[in-house]
């Protein structure tokens, strides 16, 4: 978290050197600096997720611009603003995204799911992905590793029946199983990102 705040400060230095604004924002979030940092981080993470859900491929940059605009407005509104500030932030983020789309949006190519993520060789990436997956799965304890692999083992109807049986055998509801696997998948994704050298928040 500390690193992220520092990086973000650097980002703002690059954009506009106003550390005071960022400090004011943090103190507005909470009088405890660490707590404020956590809140800021969480706010940014959800904002990125929301922008991605809106199909925005520059979610991180746009959320930073939206947060910056919010911070600029903060001295004027901090004493008088009523209600949840997230609603206001949400409106700013949508506006920034619209501005961005008007300037830059291009239609997507038809073969979008075949396009490699970066400039890397896709075969090499696939090989690396496989190695990383193996490495990351090995970091799980055996029951969780088995659960994750079992969850992905079956197909279609067999999958549905199998997952029901799996939940029953674990003595939990189907939704609880989904959530448990979701959290494991998130841990896996985080590990994979580290392994692949990707510095990106996992939602």
């Amino acid at each position: 978290m500390q690193r992220r705040v520092t990086l973000t400060l650097l980002y703002f230095h690059a954009m506009e050197p106003d550390e005071d604004r960022f400090n004011l924002f943090l103190s507005w979030l909470s009088s405890d600096r660490d707590e404020a940092g956590r809140k800021y981080e969480d706010m940014r993470r959800r904002l990125i997720f929301m922008l991605e859900c809106r199909g925005c491929n520059r979610a991180e940059e746009i959320s930073d611009v939206a947060l910056d605009r919010f911070m600029k407005r903060l001295p004027e509104i901090q004493d008088t603003y009523k209600g949840d500030p997230m609603a206001y932030l949400c409106v700013i983020a949508r506006n920034v995204q619209l501005e961005y789309m008007r300037k830059t949006e291009q239609p997507l190519p038809d073969n979008i799911d075949k396009i490699p993520i970066d400039e890397d060789d896709p075969d090499e990436l696939e090989e690396l992905m496989h190695e990383c997956l193996e490495k990351c799965l090995n970091e799980f304890d055996l029951p969780n590793r088995k659960l994750l692999l079992a969850y992905y083992e079956e197909e279609k109807q067999a999958k549905i029946n199998f997952r029901k049986t799996l939940a029953k055998s674990m003595g939990i509801a189907g939704n609880a199983l989904r959530l448990r696997v979701h959290r494991l998948r998130r841990t896996l994704e985080l590990c994979m990102n580290n392994c692949l050298g990707v510095d990106e928040p996992v939602k």
Partner: protein, 325 residues
């Protein structure tokens, strides 16, 4: 999560929710942590459905437009595809699923025999399916599961403590004999890269370095940019260079070690995260007494693979170098 709520999230993620409802949902996403997690869960499951090819054509098109423009989501899709492949190493006969779906009680008796036949064929396929190369590699891993005869790390081989012995390894264990038979037969049969590579690994573990080098070089002619092959060739040359050096104290093994370094450098150039190559290059730097480079490679190794037994060995090496300094 209520089904209606889940459907609403799904519609939102695919871009089907009216603007007003979408805005309310977005505000909730920013305010409510639990809801954010639910949305992330539905996003994951949509990705999985896409990978399984169970979305309708329209949903598929929407998914491509909304999801795949985001690098993180494309990466997630790749991860899910890889995870599915990993979870199902051998393909299952598709008629299994067909039977499961259409088998009505009134047909049960009549199809029991067919089902038995299907199960029989399925078991036969699962047990017979692995190729000679795969079976040979399993046997090789079994043979060296308690100790490894060379210090270098060979790709595709699990960890075992290094045991210092001189001369060739006695091929007296059933697993070694089995792996030799399988891998030699596979390599003489189709001469595929996989077969040549596996046979090279076998020779390397037998300390038959010239034979190992010949197999790796042959395989590299077919795939010159295979990082794992470069790593194993580098390992074979490293072990050969060490042997030459021990037999000739006046500078023997220099050329072989230089050649080893070229292949290990190439392996890491092709794949900077290839653990075996990193491990072997650190050993090579020790041989050439390039202590700072060795230390750097060991430290990098530990950062890439912090929890394995290989890493414990790397940590000991770091301590030894630091003591030396």
């Amino acid at each position: 999560m209520k089904p209606t709520e889940e459907n609403q999230i799904r519609d939102y993620l695919l871009g089907n929710l009216p603007a007003e409802q979408a805005e309310r949902l977005e505000e909730r996403l920013l305010r409510d942590e639990e809801f954010a997690e639910q949305m992330s869960l539905v996003e994951d499951e949509l990705t999985e459905d896409y990978a399984r090819n169970v979305l309708s054509p329209r949903e598929r098109e929407q998914f491509q437009k909304r999801f795949l423009s985001i690098p993180r989501r494309r990466r997630k899709l790749m991860m899910v595809r890889e995870l599915r492949k990993y979870a199902r190493p051998s393909p299952k006969p598709s008629w299994f699923e067909w039977l499961d779906t259409i088998l009505a009680p009134q047909w049960r008796a009549a199809t029991a025999a067919v089902l038995l036949l299907v199960v029989g064929i399925g078991v036969w396929r699962v047990t017979v399916w692995p190729s000679d190369v795969q079976k040979g590699m399993v046997a090789l891993n079994e043979a060296y599961q308690t100790q490894r005869p060379i210090e270098a790390r060979v790709t595709g081989l699990q960890y075992a403590p290094y045991s210092v012995t001189r001369g060739p390894v006695a091929a007296d264990s059933p697993s070694i004999r089995r792996s030799a038979a399988l891998l030699q037969s596979a390599a003489s049969g189709d001469s595929s890269v996989e077969a040549l590579h596996a046979l090279g690994r076998y020779y390397l573990l037998q300390k038959q370095f010239d034979e190992a080098i010949a197999e790796f070089e042959e395989a590299l002619k077919k795939t010159p940019d295979n990082a794992q092959l470069h790593s194993d060739l580098g390992a074979a040359l490293l072990e050969k260079g060490k042997l030459e050096r021990s037999q000739d104290q006046s500078g023997g093994g220099k050329t072989t070690l230089a050649s080893s370094q070229a292949h290990l450098d190439r392996a890491l150039q092709l794949n900077d995260s290839l653990l075996a190559a990193r491990f072997n290059r650190a050993l090579l730097y020790e041989q050439t007494q390039s202590w700072s480079s060795a230390l750097e490679d060991w430290q990098k190794y530990v950062s890439l693979d912090p929890n394995s037994q290989w890493s414990e060995q790397a940590r000991k090496k770091i301590e030894e170098i630091q003591r030396r300094e």
